[in-house]
Symmetry: D2
Subunit: 308 residues, 4 copies
């Protein structure tokens, strides 16, 4: 039986990409390889159909098949969260039922961009809970993309009134103070999991502020695994050293517009997926960009050798 | 056999609402009644699954069933256009194939909000054409909502290079000069249909500038039918008189946020649909608002009597 | 001595345009003529340097000279409110001191577009109050332009904690329920003035909901004066009749982008200002648009004759 | 006599902060110290009143005094560019005349956020040129903040038709391909200066693509100076090594919302300015954040020692 997502979620939940064949069809074989790679790298969970999973480019049938394939390969080894954000409740409801029946551990819901006042945000998640019942959900807080700002007060109202909210995907920018505030005595009625995003670009500081790990993507998830583990072991210096070694590439991968193309190129180069194809509409990576990534990877490998 | 949408489209293509039962299920019986009412009122076409059709709140199956039911009831009497805008090409492609197979006359495509430069807009519609082939499509130009601005130059590039673009749903605001420019000799290689939106709020001026009619919604589509017909018959004074009689209500119905609730309330009151229910998330109409609509309708009836 | 703006503000505060000469210089003579016209038309107050006053196109010196000229001509007959919204507190502070020293009755402050959470809005106005002290201020609530949404709860927090807030310029859309909520027993600790915007396009309904009048612009301010007076006298039918007569033009003047050009053209045609010039950057009115306005004015005059 | 900005601009034009005293007054003594520091660090130019210079928070008089003080201290040693972006042409015109009379080398102009179509952007800069005549100007291309996207084609139209445009402040994200395109034979009629922004976060790659240097801020401008110099000398490995050493802090300083507070804290810590005060409204830096910066600086110093 599937273990559901709980407030104890910690470590690194990798945001999975969706692998495609050069003709645009979903590459299911690469799904398997990718799952194995992520778990071997130390992922404690997976999140599929996130923004970086090209979810809106999939048909409903494809979404189901991708989730199904990944769940089968994971085979209960780690919890799998599925992004179900959609413009309407009917879609969210259908998608949630579908993925939970398939064996997902929980769903992730981002607020629609039209929400502005505190009350409207709380009302939205209350309505979501009416819809999905006891399904555990991840509250996605990513104002840079959603254009919705949730103060710690609003997050507290959601957490304190809706037991289904077990995890905050923290991706505010800047958001370090938000973690500190949410971890203060008396703000939340119960401790929930805080997993951070932004490609891990602030992971050392986020861990120091009280995060439980990361829920984001990067072509080298082992960096995030190491940073989290060394932080938990108390070796912050080593955590920072490793983080710094990967930072030049992590920074490069965070460029809006071509970030996912860079990630997929790197993953294909590493043999994690067969092709670096993105579905249209999507920007292609030029030869210049590929050469830049190659150089950054070579430098990263040198630096890692120095650190060992 | 279905007649496809052509550059000759004229008159009033009513944007159909999607009727719901009080429990949120689609009200298919009301679909039939609504179709009959629209056609009796003089609609020369219908557009379903538009922004005001609550399309994003439907599941894919529901979208198919609504389109199917409406097409069956229309039974070839007028062309039916279906909105297929979606975040990804795979969804647009599947939806287009589905509705064209069911007998739609064409599809309507709005630009995604991320498009900014002239070239990116033209590229988008070129890719759409790669996707949907010969399917005739309506170019939806609604910057107030899409946040994408298409200059007449950009529209001309699309029309002149993509034969599938047979109609412009004109909803720029202000946009009267745009109609005038597009109707100038030499701007477009071929004359396409221009049907206007904005709830008909500028219909007399749009007709005078060269529009072929309206593609929009209003609880009294007969107003739009009359305005278009009197304009075509050269009786602009009568067109304006009738327009002015309906304007207080038309203005009231154009309030963002509750416009659709007002429209559905009025349609239910007129017996066109059984219930004024909107799907969640949606604002409910208060007793005060209902009373305001009632008063506006009573005044409108009085004024129409005076005009006859 | 200047009378300051109070919670009793009622009637019509016309948003004054800034008249220019064809070469772009401020037309001070027209300022005088405009003031006389507004007061003769029944304005109970004026608001200058609002968004429709082309305030951001004026230098600080010009702003001072325009305010000074208008205050001199008004000569204490009605209160004059001055818009002082600016990106920084230093500018707001300097501008407020300047106009209050010149004899303004109060200032109007819109929230900066970056405010998102309830607390950030309340904090902003608290800081404004720290800055401007006892100066009475108008809270401008215009989400369509500012992109900031203030719930009744947020407005109540501002009103209840900041005595300087004496008036709400209500321009939410839809916003009728907001007026009703704010007028409910127990929401506000004290009754403040609610004056409505949106070019008067919803004035009858706003009055019925509890507004005290309008603070907005329209080339025929006498319409707004009549609607408010007849409402207060209990003759709502006459208020609606007059409103409806002006509505076709009022609607036309509310087109974003060219609304102010239409208003100035009409005002120049009526002899209220000498020229219809706008400062660059601004869209010019075409001959077609001018003819449309002329036709609407002629029809409006006919309709008004019928009503007398 | 002042040397005007030309197409040869290269190296590092530091975006100067505006130093304040704890009470919010401008700290003119720190202006002097800051200028000396920047020039000692190898800056080849300065840019004042940029977005990171808190320009909108200054009154016109303060803007003049800050520019005047900085120009006096610079005393012709390097060119000084002044940001003059403002909502209206009158303000831009007055500000440009003022700073050029004081001895500025040129001005920087960002596009207003309302520009959407290619033509509207070109028209805007054409009107700017009508306004400022021969004054050399920097075209600021920063879509993340301005929300205006300029394709290489649009930039080429501006450069090729307006001789005053001598420099592109390149801050698109991702924008590496844009540099490559603009440097291709035949795109621009003349070679202009391309200086890059984004806090130097992509400087090595930007230099490799054909940039002439940076025009941005960072509390350690010597990093940018070194990267540019080593790139020009052909030692890209050394350029990358140094860049990587500063990257953890540079990344931290690029957090929207508190980036400037971090930069000022660091500059005050280094003794470059007397206080880390920002003008209201502004977020304050918490003790936690200060400790994080301290740790990053300590690690940076260690790493730099290793590299020597």
């Amino acid at each position: 039986m599937t273990k559901l997502l709980t407030e104890d979620a910690a470590g690194v939940y990798v945001i999975a990409v969706t692998p495609f064949l050069p003709d645009g069809a979903v590459d299911y074989d690469s799904c398997d390889r990718m799952v194995d790679f992520y778990l071997d790298a130390g992922a404690t969970g997976l999140t599929v159909l996130g923004m970086m999973g090209e979810a809106p480019k999939l048909t409903v049938e494809e979404s189901r098949d991708v989730v199904s394939r990944i769940l089968k390969r994971v085979d209960g080894r780690v919890p799998v969260v599925v992004g179900v954000s959609a413009p309407g409740f009917a879609q969210i409801s259908v998608l949630t039922k579908m993925v939970m029946d398939l064996g997902a551990a929980g769903v992730m819901v981002a607020p629609p961009g039209s929400l502005r006042t505190d009350d409207s945000i709380v009302t939205y998640y209350t309505q979501i809970t009416d819809l999905i019942g006891n399904t555990p959900f991840v509250l996605q807080d990513f104002p840079l993309i959603t254009n919705v700002q949730m103060s710690p007060k609003v997050i507290a109202r959601i957490v304190n009134s809706l037991p289904g909210c077990v995890c905050l995907k923290h991706e505010d920018w800047p958001g370090l103070e938000k973690i500190t505030t949410l971890r203060k005595e008396g703000v939340l009625d119960r401790r929930i999991s805080i997993l951070c995003g932004n490609g891990g670009l602030f992971l050392p500081e986020e861990m120091a502020r009280g995060a439980d790990g990361a829920m984001t993507g990067f072509a080298y998830p082992e960096m995030m695994v190491s940073v989290v583990q060394h932080f938990k072991a108390g070796d912050t210096t080593r955590a920072h050293d490793l983080f710094d070694a990967y930072l030049p590439l992590a920074r490069f991968e965070q460029q809006p517009g071509i970030g996912l193309a860079i990630r997929k190129y790197t993953m294909a180069k590493r043999g994690i997926i067969a092709h670096d194809a993105l579905r249209k509409p999507a920007a292609a990576l030029t030869a210049n960009s590929r050469a830049e990534v190659d150089r950054l990877i070579a430098r990263q490998e040198n630096r890692l050798k120095e650190l060992n």
